[in-house]
């Protein structure tokens, strides 16, 4: 096709060079086949140097993908090679996996304790932050600021090491002390979540329950909290995963959780001269990831249940109503 002079009538100006398409194709192909990355990178550079037309953006795209993929390829190859040279394997032995799974029960136990304490604390403090009494609000705010401001690991050391000596508490259960520290930490964040959720419930609901003469406890239990649940659950799930991540810290005060048993396995490895720490820790990371995903799925299921309850069923006809309501509803006979 010959073009003499600029023509504005043609539908598609033919500026796409076949080699541009090749560079882009190579770039995209380099994503599944990273070996092609350097080729796309080099070729795109050559084309960019030679030509200056409308294809620049596409050439740059192809070249960039090639560049990124070749960098990733290099990093990945280096990592794989380094691990292979040192470790000769990606997995642990069956006995080591057994130890880790057993230790994850301790982690789950600590998570359960601190979750229970955290939920209780966040409910109490979250409601207290909305109290009408000034000093209650102030005390709750002070707690929240303290729990959110302090590092969980320092709090853990204070709880598990300093407090028992300061107050002459016997250091019988480190698990319990560590759970208290993590629970306080969770309570601070959870209180803010619950406070925000309570504030997000429309004011009419509170007023309606006041006019129905519900006590404050009933109001909270039957009217406000069930509606606030929709707002509470998603951030609470994230917070629980944060606490699960925080449980790794208890290994530093001498509780045999996943991390501590990984250290023990490491000692055994050093003794046996077998296995490497990198592979071991990679497996530990995967184990924590699986635990976090379990927590995530549980919270998602809970969210769905709450969501369905909130949606409600179809409107019932008078015949379908439960008997005690049907009889007390005016205008409905039978």
């Amino acid at each position: 096709m010959s073009m003499n002079g600029p023509s504005y009538s043609t539908a598609t100006p033919e500026i796409e060079h076949p080699r541009t398409k090749l560079v882009q194709l190579l770039g995209f192909l380099s994503i599944p086949i990273p070996l092609l990355g350097p080729v796309a990178w080099w070729m795109g550079n050559e084309e960019l140097r030679k030509r200056d037309d409308g294809d620049r953006a596409q050439l740059i795209l192809g070249r960039t993908i090639g560049m990124v993929m070749s960098i990733l390829l290099m990093v990945g190859l280096v990592l794989l090679a380094a691990l292979w040279v040192v470790a000769k394997s990606w997995l642990l032995t069956g006995g080591q996996y057994e130890t880790l799974v057993k230790a994850s029960l301790v982690t789950i136990q600590i998570l359960a304790y601190s979750f229970a304490l955290g939920i209780v604390l966040s409910l109490i403090v979250g409601v207290a932050r909305l109290s009408e009494r000034r000093w209650v609000r102030g005390a709750a705010l002070a707690f929240v600021e303290f729990a959110r401001g302090i590092s969980s690991i320092i709090l853990l050391f204070i709880m598990a090491v300093a407090i028992p000596i300061l107050l002459d508490v016997p250091q019988t259960s480190k698990i319990l002390l560590a759970s208290i520290a993590l629970g306080i930490n969770m309570g601070g964040y959870g209180a803010e979540i619950i406070r925000g959720a309570i504030l997000s419930v429309p004011k009419g609901q509170t007023e309606a329950s006041l006019s129905l003469n519900l006590s404050p406890t009933q109001r909270l239990r039957y009217v406000v909290l069930p509606q606030a649940m929709r707002v509470i659950l998603p951030p609470m799930g994230n917070l629980t995963i944060e606490i699960l991540k925080g449980t790794a810290l208890v290994s530093l005060v001498g509780v045999t959780d996943i991390m501590q048993s990984a250290n023990n396995i490491r000692q055994a490895q050093l003794f046996d001269q077998a296995g490497t720490q990198t592979v071991l820790l990679l497996n530990v990371l995967v184990l924590y990831f699986i635990l976090a995903q379990v927590v995530n799925v549980l919270f998602k299921l809970w969210e769905r249940r709450v969501e369905q309850r909130y949606k409600g069923g179809p409107a019932l006809s008078p015949d379908q109503l439960p008997a005690h309501i049907r009889h007390s509803t005016p205008g409905v006979t039978g």
């Binding site: 050391f157 000596i165 530093l252 990198t278 990371l285």
Partner: protein, 286 residues
Amino acid sequence: MSTMENAAATAAEDQEIEEYRPHRKWYRRPDIMVPVLLILLVYALLVGYVESPNFFRTKMEAPSGLVNFDWMWFFHLIPLMLQGLLVTIKGALLGFAVAVVLGLFFALGRRSKLPFVSWPVIAVIEFIRSTPVLVQLFFWLALERTIPVIDLSPIALLMVGLGVHYATYCSEAYRAGINSVDKGQWEAATALNLSPVTKWTRVVLPQAVPNVLPALGNYLVAAFKDAPMAFIIGVHGVLFFADQVAAETFRVTEPYLIAGVGFLMASLPAAWAVRQLERKIAYERV
């Protein structure tokens, strides 16, 4: 008469229009430049002048084991604790600098329309986000020891570990910010035939980043709270100080308590400043 009045009014209007320059360049706005310069100054001072002490040794003799708590010794530990705290702050800031930059790339990768790009990025982000930073630090340490070519100081390791961990959080913040940019802005950028680079650097990011500044500030505070645990990889921060003093004097109460107090003294003002920033930005957006 009326024409003169009209002319005067137009002139005044012109002048007013000339006076009113809401879209000054960012580097000509004192309300942006003053904090930026201050932050840069503090940053440079921290990075340049804070050096981690090799050991924390108390000059005063520790009280005997019969007393649970000794105020004199508690106050005596303050200067040592401040040294450790500065190192911790430095580590957190260095790590967060990595996180802010890396997080943007994570966010862009996650937004990519190519599933080959976005899926691995999502996988990496989710994996890093849901695993403990403590284990990650150990992992980086082991990796660094495994590969003989790389030789990183403990604080550089902390920088990598915290940076990668918080980059995933920052990427979520950036994603929210980018999604909050009005659809019309994207369409206008397309209509003006802006190149992708121009569109991102001149249209999208300048609108997205101010919205996510409070979230980034929150993550900075969170990173600061995770920084003390770097004592396990040998960063001589605030917890290392407490650990060492406790090991040398066999008194655990005061060092850990003073570490907690000092930490609160640093993190509470930081959290307060972030909240002020949040309020200011919320006010500007209304």
